[in-house]
Symmetry: C2
Subunit: 320 residues, 2 copies
């Protein structure tokens, strides 16, 4: 037994193995979640209409911090500094990435897993809508790829789905245009006429919380009203709440409450709204707000993507 | 401005956005690492012989805790409970997974990224060796897949590369046999004659730290002596040190020191030993230890894989 080698035995043996388990705060899958969210057979979707609302995947900036000065040379050429960064990026002025982070490779993989999970559950998507942030467009692309729909379902870019403008007091990002995205091989619906324009958002940077909820909610409502079939909406941590809150008949949250919720929305988290199957009344006044009250939150058809972190390794520790 | 909506303004605006940045303890890529480990041009490998020593990828058990009771039904059928778990596993008695965890999907993806990174750097691999742990076999497979060598470089399973036996006082794992792995479509070299047998390891479960270092080091030495060209060795967190320490001419570590090092070895970390190009003397006595002193640690040809964690999402928080 190791105890025989006392001079080396400065850490108890049972603790030593624990040290290498760099387990995060993640909980063991609790039994009640298994019962409610996971089932022993693949969940297949029912016939009612559904809206899949999703957060984007892992961001380069939140993962690596100040990455732009390290990853672009003086001529503006991108060189990745980690295997979790993409090998290439669409060409644009490097400084524009500061407020419009791309996904990491793991971020794209998370989205791909969600797409595959939806496909396994038999989910059909007729239309895809997306915040103008590049990370959201990449996420929507990978989800559709996983679903096998990348080529057939073009993405509609809707600035009305962008996150809270109050976070951009020093100016909004400059997003890649549909033409630039098409040139970078993203399947964008160039014919889509957005509800909000980037210019309109720029005028409203003093947006209050209720205005933000209304903007996102209105975008979701217009999307539902103008389409048939199931819809994918890709946005931000707040989007799962802001695009569903009013439509399912719940009231506005306080800033504290929204902050609490959004901290729990992991990358590629999914919320599903399901129509209750009732049709709007014929009254045209009513028809304006037909969407609200006819939808509820449903159990997602697939499990979430849960993983631990991986710190940056420096081989030089082996020489210490 | 948001300040105008005082009733909601319970969290300072500048702090609110920080809340959603679930950044880990990961550091911004430091300038000196950029200079030493990353370069502005893809690093291409020199002509000297190299040994690539690697840790496996993310494990299911360290990510999800006690997963076996949740993921197998009474009939022993596997059903995943998260999109980061594989859709299927090789068939075996479920309890055997307890001591022989598979990789998560992210774990396989990490290994794939390393394989692609090695390929981008022009790395050639002639032979692949692997600990008998299933997570290591999966990792080696994904690395070779990324390198485009999965079909052409079969994996030699070497029990001598397994981790410290002192961690298995209550019994060693029962590993999948080469035949079982071949049946599960892993490209195993069935003709390979291992240096250590599982039976031999079972007799040495009282292994002292110096015996562990010697076992791993001897395995690496034998691998180097019996092969030509570049070699991939896939093992555990300790493997990067135990398979290189003596060969590069450094002395045994204390338990404390080894524990400190292994905590810094992230999933899919890579160490590279490079031959100094000298040939062993003709003396047959010398030839027994020819390998030692002729190798040094080299800068890895690709960057590491660094990412943040992703907590398990429960959509019900949206109903709170």
């Amino acid at each position: 037994m190791f105890g025989g080698n006392k001079t080396m035995d400065d850490i108890p043996l049972e603790k030593l193995h624990e040290l290498v388990k760099k387990r995060t705060n993640m909980q063991v899958i609790p039994g009640d979640q298994c019962a409610s969210q996971s089932q022993s057979v693949p969940r297949t979707e029912s016939g009612t209409r559904k809206v899949y609302v999703m957060r984007h995947g892992e961001r380069i900036d939140f993962t690596f911090g100040s990455w732009v000065p390290y990853c672009f040379d003086e001529a503006g050429n991108y060189v990745r500094k980690d295997l979790n960064m993409p090998t290439s990026l669409p060409t644009r002025k490097p400084s524009l990435w500061q407020k419009d982070s791309p996904l990491t490779n793991v971020g794209r993989y998370q989205a791909r897993l969600v797409g595959e999970g939806l496909k396994d559950a038999g989910v059909q998507i007729a239309r895809a809508y997306c915040s103008p942030s590049f990370r959201c467009i990449q996420t929507a692309t990978s989800v559709l790829e996983g679903l096998g729909l990348k080529a057939t379902v073009p993405i509609c870019i809707e600035p009305g789905l962008f996150e809270w403008l109050a976070w951009y007091q020093d100016g909004l990002p400059e997003w890649l245009t549909p033409d630039e995205l098409l040139a970078a091989d993203y399947n964008i619906d160039a014919a889509y006429k957005p509800l909000s324009s980037p210019g309109l958002l720029r005028e409203h940077f003093h947006e209050k919380l209720n205005e933000f909820y209304c903007r996102n909610s209105n975008a979701a409502e217009e999307i539902i009203k103008s389409t048939e079939g199931n819809v994918l909406i890709v946005g931000h941590a707040t989007t799962l709440d802001t695009c569903t809150r009013f439509i399912i008949g719940e009231k506005l949250r306080s800033t504290n409450d929204m902050a609490r919720i959004m901290q729990k929305v992991s990358y590629c988290s999914l919320a599903v709204m399901e129509s209750d199957g009732t049709t709007p009344s014929g009254d045209s006044e009513q028809a304006e707000s037909t969407v609200k009250g006819h939808w509820k939150l449903a159990v997602p058809p697939c499990d979430p993507v849960t993983h631990t972190n991986n710190n940056r390794f420096d081989y030089k520790i082996l020489l210490e």
